[in-house]
Amino acid sequence: MRKITGIFNHSILIIMVIVCIFPMVWVVSSSLKSQQTVFTDMSLIPSEMQFENYTRTWQQGNFGDYFFNSVYYTVIVVFGVLFISSLAGFGLTRLKIPGKNIIFIILISTMMIPIPGAFIALYVLLANLGLINTRTGYILCMINGGLPFAIFLFKSFFEGISKDLEDAAKIDGCNKFQLYMKIAMPLSKPIIAIVVIHNALMVWNEYILAMLVLTDRKLMPLQRGLMVFQGTHIADYHLLMAGIAITTIPIIIIYFLMQKHIISGVMAGALK
């Protein structure tokens, strides 16, 4: 019986792996085909690998210029979201704050209201603050966009932490900030991991806000490079696929490397 469920479980896992991995393999495979074979040659391993597609795409899309911007935006936004949301999440659960439920609902309400209608208001606001076409304007908007979900996660998590640890720390003479820094944050590694991944992905794949807030191309993020290949009258699918691979692979690598920390983080969480 055990064996049968084992086989069953493993076959489901394998099917899911194929379903999830296939599109990515396809992107990479298409990115190595030529403009003509990308539609006709449906094999996964192209007969002729055109690795020069990648250099062409890199140059044509000016990815070099945008790469740095995206890394910069991603690091700062992730850091900002993490800091502000964990503080708020901690405050809203572990500290006495009159009206904290209302504050919480208001803070996460941003998550509910769809943004499509808000772009004019946002632009006018940034223009008045002198933040149009600045890195700061873009970063602050992105941080604001990532906050509600992260606050929500941290709050749910901190609610589950047992009070004993906190009391022990208080006896040791920790003040509130130290309590947050030394006890709460190390415990919440699994949540930190999710918040980091979520926000990193969000910033990395973002272009709508960038197109609204930024004017100069020298400030634009990576997705602007991809834009060149995906307009309405564009035929270079192989280059588009190479572009998608170029923008996606770094994040896969980072994600894979982060695994270790997620695991150890999760384990640390399990010790509570």
Binding site: T40, I76, G80, F119, N128, I132, T136
Partner: protein
């Protein structure tokens, strides 16, 4: 840790405060396919005149539309920009004082005695023109410079015609003939027609072509005015075209929801004999399949009462910001951009039809000549004195999709539109 955070926050706040002075002509556009060509022209222009022009691309089109609307609210529009959408949207931008009237510049003759207007394809100018009396209450004038022209005819694959035993030089002229050709193609195992009907403007364009063919321009416009009901037999016939397509299996099932890019891919890879697409497709098809042998045709006539027309006119246009500090420089640049040499360059690079008459005469590529000859059959909603409301057009387009999947009959759609109109 804490200090690091504060330092980073301070750093980003400070980095936002430096603002540079602008000393160039700024252009915003959405044309991904032309971005490189524009950049190159900007360099040429700087070398020639010393004036710096900077093109900035914002895509996809909804993002571009949002951007110019938002910028309009704070008077942050660049010196040169374009408006995507309908004439109504252009009119709103003009009425809000964002668009310069170019009539004066257009008519002033230069040293050779020719005016700017004389050099441009007349039908392209019409798209951005407002007559003395117009429903949009815009002051008479020409408000934009067309940088290319286009039309949306039907296309057919010559090689697939041959394979089905059809004459590749003689596309079907009437609807009955189209059905007959379709049967032959099907017998040869070839898909007949596909188009990007998931993007409803292609449906709308084809439907209005047939409405003009069946009822004539005046009656169609009278429907918009509310003087002719949609339940009129002419509209029912118009919608019957699509029912016929479904009934005779002439349209691929995918077409109903297909985005145009995918439809272009199907036609380019010779998986379908007919398509309905605009002249911008030349570059796309060439990229996907340089060996594709195809030609343009008018949609086969359903009725002999009136001529068949297709949509066409200016492809993309640039407008000058009425409040721009460098208004004259901007106009000067647009004039240069639409001059024969630059138009020839753009046409060469992106295979769009040039808006400059002289460059149009100089095109050599056979298929582009073919397209340019279709310009004599064009019409466009932007030149009609009235247009239909957006909601009713949307209901028509969606309704036609419903006809194509067998959820509605032409009569039902006609009646529904009539109800909506009231």
């Amino acid at each position: 840790m804490k200090n690091l955070v504060i330092a980073i926050i301070l750093a980003i706040l400070v980095s936002g405060c430096a603002r540079e002075e602008v000393d160039y002509v700024s252009v915003w556009h959405w044309m991904t396919d032309r971005a490189d060509a524009f950049d190159e022209l900007a360099i040429q222009y700087r070398d020639k005149t010393g004036v710096e022009v900077r093109f900035e691309l914002y895509a996809p089109s909804p993002s571009y539309s949002e951007r110019i609307r938002a910028a309009a609210q704070t008077d942050n529009l660049p010196d040169i920009f374009g408006v995507l959408g309908e004439k109504r949207d252009l009119a709103s931008f003009i009425n809000a004082g964002h668009v310069a009237n170019l009539s004066g510049y257009m008519e002033k003759p230069d040293s050779t005695g020719l005016s700017w207007r004389d050099t441009l394809f007349p039908a392209a100018l019409e798209i951005n023109k407002f007559r003395e009396v117009n429903v949009y209450e815009v002051k008479e004038g020409i408000y934009g410079a067309p940088i290319d022209i286009m039309n949306i005819p039907m296309l057919y694959n010559k090689r697939l015609f041959e394979r089905a035993g059809l004459d590749p030089e003689r596309p079907p002229l009437t609807w009955d003939e189209f059905i007959e050709y379709g049967q032959k193609l099907k017998q040869a195992g070839i898909n007949v027609f596909s188009s990007g009907f998931g993007e409803t403007w292609l449906i709308e364009s084809l439907a209005y072509n047939y409405a003009f063919n069946i009822m004539g321009e005046e009656k169609v416009l009278d429907t918009f005015r509310g003087d002719v009901p949609y339940s009129d037999i002419g509209w029912v016939h118009t919608f019957t075209i699509f029912e016929d397509m479904k009934k005779h299996n002439l349209i691929t099932e995918d077409s109903v929801t297909m985005i145009n890019r995918l439809a272009e891919q199907q036609f380019a890879t010779e998986r379908v004999a007919f398509s309905f697409n605009g002249s911008w497709c030349v570059n796309v098809y060439r990229g996907m399949n340089p060996d594709l042998e195809y030609s343009t045709m008018l949609p086969p006539k359903y009725s002999d009462e009136h001529n068949m027309v297709i949509w066409g006119g200016a492809g993309s246009s640039f407008l000058v910001n009425a409040r721009a500090a460098r208004k004259d420089e901007a106009v000067e640049f647009l004039r240069w951009l639409t001059a024969d040499e630059q138009q020839a360059f753009l046409s060469e690079e992106t295979r769009n039809l040039p808006s400059n008459k002289d460059s149009l005469d100089l095109i050599e590529e056979e298929i582009l000549i073919d397209f340019s000859q279709r310009m004599q059959h064009i019409t466009h909603p932007n030149v009609w004195p009235v247009t239909e409301e957006h909601d009713i057009r949307e209901a028509m387009n969606r309704g036609i999709q419903q006809i194509l999947i067998g959820e509605r009959t032409p009569e039902e759609l006609a009646n529904r539109l009539e109800r909506l109109k009231n």
